[in-house]
Symmetry: D2
């Protein structure tokens, strides 16, 4: 739902929002969440499905921008080389990337009997943030079953805030987590959608800025955290036909959204943006050497950049808005933004 | 001088400013300006000298970040490969890059009789923005003599606003140009300086944001420009010992400053940040294979990032503050920010 | 003509050559040369025209790979960002890049009255190598008129060796210069062409390898040069539909060709490969936001890689084969390969 | 041991070899192997230890070059951002990256009780090739215990060929696997070492080239494989003081070694080179902001490039030389090079 209109928080906005104001406004995109919450455990798994079919056989064009590379994702190298995503995208905590990659591999092998036999391997895409403040991250509590569960729960509607992989995340001195938003654009007379989903876990207390207001200062008086060891994963999906190069341009602009909300891309923050389009599909098998694709006329692309920057900004603030005060590992408490409004 | 304290414009600031609040607060750094202004001509040349000695023989460690590569700079490729700057850095208008490169080559050959004879070539660094709105850019009015003049006028004190290469620049719907600022940091108990100089020429009317206030909306009512075909060149100098990798990290964070002032890094904007340190020098000749250098402990580098982001933000706003309403090419008028305050 | 079949030099080859065995076998590609040769002057200008029309209005898709960035080219940054080339590509000596850029700017302004007035600027692409061994490079002998002359002499047929920008170049201890070659491929049942043009100026005496034979050892006994301060510019043109990402993959593989001929990409060698396709055109003006393009099915792209590696390898050896013994600056003599065969 | 002097295979060599002619000639570097071989299983784990101490607390400076990014490594993004390696480097098969990452995480947590509690996370470095031709890769046969075993068996002496992670690898139509080599260099009057270790799994049958001789043609007559779905992981270690930028330069030159042995960096080949130096250590904890480091004078670095290119070339050929004919998955047989000599 993004930021509700009655939230009292005003962002500068130019573009219309999608009906759900979620990344799932992009036709075919689905999200699945598994939340793990008990005693010292505050973690989980979130899965983004670029479309509802077999993603390995029908890949989506994609690109990524590593804004600050203090992160442990797997799969980005091949996205860069081949310009495609061929699995659902997983988000989880840092030390669970291995488990998630193994589970995702098994899931893909199960769905595609040809992988590793008559065709090559598969590039599993797993991203992460460190939820060690509220979660016993050393306990490696995410299991392969948790990942399978998330992989088996794609949905058009999903909660934001302290759920899924966002369960234990902290952001700008507050409780962070999942946030989402979408924007609508007129392209050649038709309506297209651009959506964002973030797992927010970055930033120093005191820096939070909402719609230009530096409200972090107020928060700092009440709640201060030790040095930022955060990160943010930003997923941008769209049905606008963009080339890999253009998707990378879109992904790089997530830095602007970060700047608007109070990040300076701290040393310990793994800030990664991944953008994909459902409008350019690349088949795994093809009888022909040449494939038709479509791209955007770069000279007109500014509206795509602006709408995407807006959607990511709102997704970040929305993640804070929806994340409730949480008590976690060793009884540490991290307050939610709404406690301050 | 940056933004004067009585400017009524308030940026969120954490770090102390240098005594001049200019990039020249970094010991040894100098700036030279040549302004060309008559009838349809509104352009010029700005030179940044990383230090006062022979820069070819005593190079400064450096790196660049291409935030949006719609630009025509020369020299960045070798900065990336070798991690050094070996000439003064020139800023001028887009179509004068060739002339400036030729003049800078001659200047370097004159200073270094060994170049091209007993040693290799020299990597001239020339950057640009398009001042075609206020300047008859097709006229190629910058001459080699103008460049020599700027190369021969290094100064600790220099004007900001519509001077030098900033003479004809426009930014966020207003008159842009040169802006500068500096910040002081405590590093291992000693005071170090980080300074910024920008040539501002980016952004769409309506988007200007100052200290969180979206004042662009007000400006848009009075003055609107056609599509942004801007750019910004950002020079960051420091005496803090940073490695090439770390200088690149600093340069990349200029995107955050852009985000704070209202840019979304538009398609046609060549947004380039160059960072150098006077603390790591690389000799052109060496009897030894191994050279001592110093770097920053990355885990503590956040203060360098933040101070640099602040300095660049202020430099941008300062460029607007100092740039006066200018009438240029075909009698077009572009208003200065102070007409709105 | 590339390497003649009676040259006694045997490269390992899998792919059929084009009828001219030149980059101009790619339909529409033309080359223009101006050679400057007198006393201490051994230099020139070479221009590659991606097609015969207005390149600014009808850009070709392109990408570049900086294999070793010790070079002073201009224009590559925007090729990377926008994935297009919008001017003829110039090659000249290092210190003439400024002059060539200015001349190319004037040429483009003359052809396109809208540039700088009703539309933005133009990204001139100029590459270089250091011919200072045989040429009085400090003399800056290339004039704007020389560049205009080259820009006005596009031809399907052109000489290789010590001509045009290759006039003063040296390579692997021998006389280098221009070399070209082409290969034919079956793509979806039709014949396509991939062509290469190099300006060779790289490598240490002793390392030359031709078809696996290490003949450099023999050359070293007779002729030794001081440290390599070379470079190579590699232009790859094709009519195969490739995306920007794929063109970059092709360009990166020029490193393989370099490895086969005896380069280890020395520190002082500016090794740059630029690849373009005439099959994907990007208009300067468009009424529509979305443009149709075509790409290659990556899983079948190996033949494109191999053919391109072959063409570049032959172009390098061909540049040596055709370059005759030359006496230049201060009466230095550099022998041609054929003196050793 | 690299290529024995009586191997009848002659590479062009300029530099002296280390006493063991293995990467472990670099002081402190160790290698551990676990080989899994039974029925359909032909796989394993190889670990490279950059030094014998606590690598997390005492990181080595490092960089990587992605020559062709069709690969699924984990950890490279942070190596790029921070310029350090902080764990042993693991090589295994593609689908075991997750398991290896989880095991390596547990190993690092065990060794460092502060990780995830009082300090941040840890960047596990795991690389891979696809051994699916000879190994039931879908079976995910590598266990966490296998990884622990390899992590607990560092050794100065290790076998090459079909052992450890190289057990099931194929290369250029032959049995591939592990190969290693080293070179000695005079730097400022002292002897330094550069060593290489590769896991070879790349290339098309027919292309193998050894010392310029195209012996692949002969091999193709006897044994042909379907399309290459290979990869190569190249680890370069040294005790020469190099900066991150310089280590990246060294890593990029592995493409030259690939070119010499018959690769054209095929589409499906994940070709990744990682270079580290034991001479620049970065502490995890530091009381000071500024750290002393050392770099190489770039103008003299060619010998480092050449020696490294030689070492990697020999390591590749050595991997083939030592790898014995292997019968694997579904009774497929892949012949070793020595069957042809």
């Amino acid at each position: 739902m993004g930021l509700p209109s009655n939230s009292s928080l005003n962002l500068y906005e130019k573009y219309k929002k999608g009906s759900k104001n979620l990344i799932t406004d992009v036709n075919g995109v689905r999200v699945g969440n598994v939340t793990l919450q008990k005693e010292n455990v505050n973690t989980g798994v979130t899965v983004i499905f670029p479309h509802g079919g077999n993603i390995f056989r029908d890949k989506v064009m994609a690109a990524a921008a590593v804004l600050n590379g203090f992160g442990k994702s797997i799969g980005l190298m091949q996205v860069e080389e081949l310009g495609t995503i061929e699995t659902p995208i997983i988000m989880t905590n840092t030390f669970s990337v291995g488990t998630a990659a193994t589970a995702l591999t098994k899931y893909m092998l199960e769905q595609n009997k040809d992988i590793g036999i008559t065709t090559g391997t598969v590039n599993c895409l797993v991203t992460e943030c460190n939820d060690g403040r509220l979660n016993d991250i050393r306990g490696l509590h995410v299991t392969e079953d948790d990942v399978f569960k998330a992989l088996n729960s794609p949905s058009e509607i999903f909660e934001e805030g302290a759920v899924g992989s966002g369960t234990g995340m902290c952001c700008l001195g507050l409780k962070g987590g999942l946030g989402s938003s979408s924007r609508l654009l007129d392209v050649d007379g038709e309506e297209y959608t651009i959506g964002a989903l973030v797992m927010s876990n970055f930033g120093s207390t005191g820096n939070l800025t909402i719609g230009g207001e530096h409200i972090g200062v107020r928060i700092k008086e009440i709640q201060d955290m030790k040095k930022d060891e955060g990160s943010i994963i930003i997923i941008i999906g769209t049905d606008i036909p963009l080339s890999e190069r253009q998707l990378k341009r879109v992904a790089k602009r997530a830095a602007i959204s970060l700047g608007r909300t109070g990040s300076y891309m701290g040393n310990g923050s793994g800030d990664v943006a991944i953008a994909f389009t459902t409008a350019n599909r690349v088949p795994h098998y093809s009888h022909k050497d040449i494939i038709d694709t479509r791209m955007f006329f770069d000279d007109n692309i500014d509206k795509v950049f602006e709408a995407s920057v807006e959607a990511v900004e709102e997704a970040i603030i929305s993640s804070l808005y929806h994340a409730k005060t949480t008590v976690g590992y060793l009884d540490k408490e991290v307050k939610g933004l709404r406690d301050y409004l």
